[in-house]
């Protein structure tokens, strides 16, 4: 993608203007904004309620108490949800391929991945992230974690958001070969994560744990960082999330580039 500082600056400029234009367009349709933002809160409220009900009946899940579980759920909601703010356009990859719209993106003088990812903002992010941060805050205070760890949490959230966006990019890039409007692989990624990563990975069989740590590194985007924050893991683990973020980002760029090479436009 951006090989030298000048083209990196250019790509950043394109990205900023593209996202900015979409954000301004939201102001034109306020009702839509509120429907999406409020519906974004629904699932997170339900998850909050689920954890509260569960911990009315049990004391811990695999050694994780209520407040630690809230941090896990909140961290996941915030890192996953935030991709809707800065990388939501990626979900349109399949549609752009099938409709032949990718042609226009290829001919424009800016990185294709940047153009696609910034073409849309998922307004549910405002609901998702609000309740996510609320869950993390309640968990944080309840678990008695020092405020001094907040910069650490922000750094881990940033790494997690990069991992999430990269995995989403790879999953959506699968549509270059699968030829379908629906991003089924990306849906599967969302569903896998939603169903399993809100619980401590230790409750699952060893094979599942290994896959989610090294095969599909979702653990680096929620389970491992939350263990670092809550002091369940030594601080030297801190090196793992940024390495995972860099590696998945590189893979994402390569996957999208390979996809664009395989793209043969729509027949007319």
């Amino acid at each position: 993608m951006a090989a030298n500082p000048a083209s990196a600056r250019h790509a950043a400029g394109v990205y900023r203007r593209s996202i900015g234009a979409y954000l301004r367009s939201i102001a034109e349709y306020p009702a839509d904004f509120w429907v999406m933002a409020i519906s974004g809160t629904f699932w997170q409220i339900v998850l909050f309620a689920f954890l509260s009900i569960l911990f009315d009946n049990v004391n811990a899940i695999a050694g994780w108490g209520y407040h630690e579980m809230l941090i896990l759920a909140g961290f996941l909601a915030t890192s996953w949800g935030s991709t809707a703010l800065f990388w939501d356009g990626i979900w349109d990859t399949g549609k752009l391929i099938i409709e032949g719209d990718m042609d226009y993106r290829i001919t424009r003088p800016a990185p294709v991945l940047i153009q696609v990812a910034s073409k849309h903002v998922g307004m549910q992010v405002f609901g998702d992230v609000t309740i996510g941060v609320l869950m993390m805050t309640v968990g944080w205070i309840g678990a008695g974690i020092s405020a001094a760890a907040i910069p650490l949490a922000l750094f881990l959230l940033l790494c997690a958001a990069v991992i999430q966006a990269s995995l989403l990019t790879i999953a959506n890039a699968a549509n270059f070969w699968m030829k379908g409007r629906t991003p089924v692989v990306a849906f599967m990624l969302a569903e896998l994560q939603n169903e399993s990563m809100r619980f401590p990975l230790t409750i699952f069989p060893a094979a599942v744990r290994l896959i989610f740590t090294f095969g599909l590194p979702l653990a680096f985007a929620s389970f491992i960082p939350v263990q670092i924050i809550t002091g369940k893991l030594d601080l030297w683990w801190l090196a793992a999330p940024p390495i995972a973020a860099a590696a998945t980002a590189l893979l994402a760029v390569l996957a999208y580039r390979a996809g664009l090479k395989a793209y043969d436009s729509a027949g007319h």
Partner: protein, 262 residues
Amino acid sequence: MASVDLAFATIAFKRKIAYKTTWLFSVLFGGWALLAGLAVWNHLLGDGEIGGYDWDAMKAYLIIGFLTSTLAWAGSDWEMANRILDGLVSIDLTKPVDFQRARAAEYIGGMTASVPAAIVGTVIAALAFRPAGPASPLAAALTLLSLLFIFPLAFGISYLATLCCFVTQRFLGIQWAKDSMVAFFSGLMVPIALMPVWLQGIAWAMPFVHFTTTPASIYLGRVDTAGALGLIAAEAAWAAGLWIIGRLIWRQLVKKVTIHGG
């Protein structure tokens, strides 16, 4: 049922089975959610019980949840919503068929396409995990009867959700909100019996509870025969009630249809 209803249902059925990948993925998603649920509750329950569910009963509960959610999420919400969003509804208004009845036939036809996969998945899960059996043969029969009501109930709820498209420009957010309500208040995420009493009251006062809790309670004998018949009567009442509410809301909202161009 008139032949026109059957024709709508058949077309929706065929359309649904034509998209095999979507169909396959819906079962895979459900299967994954079931496995994750089994891992969680196995860990939590051990040899004990929570809210009156021991491990064998919880396995049955989760498998029933898999079956009901596979059916409930198999309808074509988006096709109904898009008719309103794209303005196709204006053409529907000129046709000599009732809009709600035609959509119901299509929706239930589409759901029917997922029945074989739901049954195969349930049988595999039952063989693999050996859940508790039904409380009695009568309970088993009444469970099946209660499952049949999922068809009109799923339509009724989805139809009301899609009618919101008359006032919004998009369906995605509405669908998320609806799916969250169904997942939570059906007892799919966490059994209703574990909720605080006030929340149980709210859950039982809504139609969503009949998607998982009602069939599972009848199957496991958590309600006696009279209770089971009462729950089935409640399902029938909701099916009829949602139908009438749909009619009343339609009558108001159809006045809002904006037809672009001329």
